[in-house]
């Protein structure tokens, strides 16, 4: 259990101070995969760097397990850090070491014997898909390859807590998926707690249990991923959720409106209620209308389909009204009128 109270970090600047993290309170359960999202500059990196005290907090306390991180002396902090893996936004690889030796580094620090170290390193190289490049130096790697070395390095010592700062943002989807699967796997098998900064909502959706949204150094929204996705309250959150839910970015909508000028277009919000299954075929049967799916995204959640569809409803004016009224009144699907014919 990670427990954060009143955490605050102020950067002294010449002109004015910058409060990168602002009186943050947060509890993260053991074994949880905790996502952190937020705009660029929101304070996400600073937040995770505070967790292992790479950045000294200006105020507040951090407890990981029963260790009060903020109160540890140097030696204890060092030991605590050996159980906290970290993946850096800028990789921070040692250019003087090969891929293999970079990954072995945390093992050397933890005093793992040589044979075991080698075994583990080879295993990790396989896992992150760098076989064949183990003797390359970082300067000879592509961006994504460097990132993967950073990931392998962070995992090498079987940490209890893993801090990931944009761990997959330099990776293609295939590799991203492989890495995420790996993380989930370790999380399940070893109960690894992961705190994961990302701006890719599909990463959050795919592996996180909890998500927190940061804005201006504060957590403005937090909860179960599904809950936050279903009922985003803050406008930041809505913007992020829209990304994964594929709900029309504004210009897409405009395009649709111009393509289907003079026709009825609605957006149906499915809110994860299984009662709404087969809504479209039900409507088609019950009312004399054709429903044309223009665009949208539906995701399956534990509680049923969630997402939204932009549809065009064709048919008799009366029937159309009835159909819409039926959806609005009899189901939990919300109807948003995007464009009416008249």
């Amino acid at each position: 259990m990670i427990s954060i109270k009143g955490l605050r970090k102020v950067f002294q600047a010449k002109e004015d101070n910058i409060t990168a993290v602002d009186r943050l309170n947060l509890d993260i359960k053991d074994g949880e995969i905790f996502g952190v999202i937020g705009y660029s500059g929101a304070g996400k990196s600073t937040f995770v760097r505070l967790l292992n005290r790479l950045e000294e907090p200006s105020e507040g306390s951090i407890k990981i397990g029963d260790r009060e991180i903020t109160a540890l002396n140097k030696r204890d902090l060092r030991l605590a850090r050996q159980e906290i893996g970290m993946i850096f936004q800028h990789f921070n690889l040692l250019w003087s070491r090969t891929v293999k030796d970079n990954i072995a580094f945390p093992l050397e620090i933890a005093g793992v014997p040589k044979e075991e170290r080698e075994r583990r390193v080879l295993e990790l190289i396989q896992l992150v898909g760098l076989a064949g490049r183990e003797n390359a130096y970082p300067s000879q790697l592509s961006g994504g390859q460097k990132q993967r070395v950073g990931i392998a390095r962070a995992l090498a010592n079987n940490p209890k807590v893993l801090l990931c700062d944009e761990a997959t943002s330099a990776l293609d989807p295939e590799t991203t998926n492989a890495i995420l699967d790996l993380l989930v796997d370790i999380n399940k098998k070893l109960g690894l707690t992961i705190i994961l900064i990302t701006h890719e909502m599909h990463v959050i959706r795919k592996i996180c249990n909890q998500v927190a949204v940061m804005e201006n150094g504060k957590i403005v929204e937090q909860g179960e991923v599904l809950e936050v996705f279903l009922k985003p309250k803050q406008s930041v959150t809505k913007k992020f959720v829209e990304q994964v839910m594929g709900s029309g970015e504004d210009d897409d909508l405009e395009q649709l409106q111009s393509t289907y000028k003079g026709e009825d277009i609605f957006r149906l919000h499915f809110v994860g209620d299984s009662a709404n299954q087969a809504l479209i075929s039900k409507i088609a049967k019950q009312f004399n209308v054709d429903i044309n799916i223009l665009q949208g995204k539906i995701t399956q959640t534990q509680m049923g389909a969630y997402g939204n569809l932009i549809v065009q409803i064709n048919g008799d004016e009366r029937e159309k009204d009835n159909a819409v009224a039926f959806i609005t009144e009899e189901t939990s699907v919300e109807v948003e009128v995007i464009q009416r014919a008249n």
């Binding site: 292992n52 790479l54 850090r81 906290i84 850096f88 921070n92 690889l93 250019w95 003087s96 580094f105």
Partner: protein, 222 residues
């Protein structure tokens, strides 16, 4: 042929002087390397924002370094007489020159080490810290390897400065090429000796530079 061109040159003496220069330079270089790295690390670690931030210690080390860099070499040799006598058992000859050479060059190299360490990307140090590395581990596995090309280049520069110093070590009978050139060449106005000695010194410098460059380039994987 040599004797025709350089009538005043005694080849055995030249060889002996060359040997002495090599001997002093190499041994002093080893000592300078160790002491200089030590001083440089101390300067770096104790500086503001360093791993062992410590104003007092930093001030002490900096003072030590500056004082010994500042003292003219001849006076340094004098000051070190008791120490040298105690350590080497004599205050004369190449071995007696070593303490003064090392103590004269190490503070200088220490500063070069400090400069090299300051150039290391803060990120990799942070990465090592985040892994829970001891400062010792950070020193030996991050700071030194990551700055090694610059450390070696700096050592080359120091080696060549040391060759210059050995010329002055002549005053206590340490011999060497510089001394040979000065006393047997310059003082006797036998400029052929000066010339040959200078050429040999230049060759030695080239050798050091060449080796230093090769090692430094080999180590640089950026």
């Amino acid at each position: 042929m040599l004797t025709n061109l350089f009538p005043n040159l005694k080849v055995e003496d030249l060889i002996e002087a060359t040997y002495e220069t090599f001997y002093m330079t190499i041994i002093a270089l080893a000592g300078t390397f160790i002491l200089g790295i030590l001083l440089g690390l101390l300067l770096y670690l104790t500086m503001k924002g360093g791993l062992w931030e410590n104003r007092v210690l930093n001030w002490i080390v900096a003072s030590f370094v500056n004082v010994f860099r500042a003292i003219p070499f001849i006076i340094l040799i004098l000051l070190l007489f008791p120490f040298t006598d105690f350590l080497v058992g004599t205050i004369r000859g190449p071995n007696a020159a070593l303490p003064a050479l090392i103590i004269g060059a190490a503070p200088f190299y220490g500063r070069l080490v400090e400069i090299a360490l300051k150039e290391i990307d803060k990120g990799v140090i942070e990465a090592a810290q985040a892994m829970g590395a001891k400062t010792r581990t950070i020193i030996f596995r991050v700071l030194l390897p990551e700055s090694m090309p610059a450390l070696i280049s700096g050592l080359t520069v120091t080696a060549i400065a040391l060759i210059g110093y050995t010329a002055m070590a002549g005053v206590i009978g340490a011999g060497g090429l510089g001394n040979y050139a000065h006393y047997f060449g310059f003082m006797r106005r036998d400029f052929d000796v000066v010339f040959v000695c200078t050429v040999v010194i230049v060759i030695i410098v080239f050798i050091f530079q060449f080796i230093g460059d090769i090692i430094s380039n080999k180590l640089d994987k950026r």
